[in-house]
């Protein structure tokens, strides 16, 4: 009987741990395991590929954008740093409909749904983008690229409008 109870508890724990970290989640922290701020070595491990810089550590440019595959999906990542060691993930974007926010917002969602879903957040709306800003941490944002008021791209990056704000 004790074994039965232990097994049930263990199963429940595994279930909840899995439920809290769904695959393909877009959050203020990043997309899935590709989290903003992780270093080059960790990025290479997750992508199972080497990243070769053309600018960082070579010339004056300290940001570079790469097209990569992550779990079979096309992604675009921005890296920022002055050399190999200090380079960090600074932005990540995808057009895959597999990737969604915890509220289910992803490719194909319309503008009105985003506005109604995130009433407690700051939304910076332009013709091309809706930037969802974490109101308690204005430096983090989820960016929806829009076309005809529908999401066609989704990503996470530091909030451009508040980059220089304390």
């Amino acid at each position: 009987m004790k074994k039965m109870i232990l097994f049930t508890c263990f199963s429940a724990l595994v279930f909840f741990a899995t439920a809290q970290k769904p695959d393909h989640l877009v959050s203020f922290e990043g997309i899935d395991e590709l989290q903003i701020g992780i270093g080059k070595a960790e990025i290479e491990k997750l992508l199972t590929t080497r990243i070769l810089f053309k600018h960082i550590g070579i010339d004056e440019q300290y940001t570079e954008t790469f097209k990569v595959k992550y779990k079979g999906t096309d992604m675009e990542i921005d890296l920022m740093g002055s050399d190999q060691k200090t380079t960090r993930l600074d932005g990540i974007r995808t057009t895959s409909p597999l990737f969604k926010t915890a509220e289910g917002i992803g490719i194909g969602t319309d503008q009105e749904t985003i506005i109604n879903t995130y009433e407690k957040h700051l939304l910076i709306i332009t013709k091309e983008y809706i930037t969802l800003v974490d109101i308690d941490n204005i430096h983090s944002s989820i960016v929806f690229r829009m076309q005809n008021k529908k999401v066609v791209g989704i990503g996470t990056e530091p909030t451009a409008a508040f980059r220089d704000r304390e």
């Binding site: 506005i115 407690k120 939304l123 910076i124 709306i125």
Partner: protein
């Protein structure tokens, strides 16, 4: 009798038409709306000085906050019989200028027809080419309201904005400010 029916119908139609025309002449389309733009509301323009405002409002303004350089003054005034809330800022009251104009009067509308009573979504859709900040308003710092929000339509040239204050998805007041910063 049958021959007279079309004639009677025609006569009836003529009477109806003339009555309709008379009604239109008696009540021509009114245009009592006051224009809200990035530069101000009607003749109340941002950056106006205290002296210019006093002349326009035909009243003396007291600006103790500006006079003592302690953060500016919020003053309630009547303009063309409408209630307006003005914010003046300056290091002394002679150099203070108008930084914000706010009203709850439904006669004040933007060129797109947006004013008090407009839907939140309508505000956003009406300014598709402008940058907009949409966020819940502060109740008591740092707590944000669950019913009050604001849509700030940023000026494409200057630092100003038209801010539409909203309760339960309807505009309740319109504000024009010379410098917008999300807080």
């Amino acid at each position: 009798m049958k021959k007279k029916t079309p004639l009677l119908l025609g006569l009836f139609a003529c009477i109806l038409f003339s009555c309709g025309n008379k009604k239109e002449k008696d009540n021509p389309p009114q245009n009592n709306d006051y224009l809200v733009s990035m530069t101000g509301i009607d003749s109340l323009k941002l950056e106006m000085t205290k002296a210019q405002l006093e002349k326009l409002l035909n009243t003396k303004l007291s600006l103790p906050g500006c006079a003592t350089d302690s953060g500016g003054d919020t003053i309630n005034v009547k303009y063309k019989n409408m209630d307006m809330t003005l914010f003046m800022y300056g290091s002394d009251d002679s150099t203070a200028t108008l930084r914000s104009i706010q009203t709850t009067n439904a006669s004040c509308k933007t060129a797109a027809g947006i004013g008090v009573g407009a839907d939140k979504m309508n505000v956003i859709d009406s300014y598709a080419d402008y940058g907009k900040y949409v966020a819940p308003e502060l109740d008591i710092y740092p707590v944000r309201s669950t019913t009050k929000s604001a849509v700030a339509v940023r000026d494409t040239v200057n630092t100003g904005a038209m801010v539409f204050h909203i309760i339960n998805k309807k505009v309740v007041s319109v504000e024009v400010i010379s410098y917008y910063e999300f807080e």
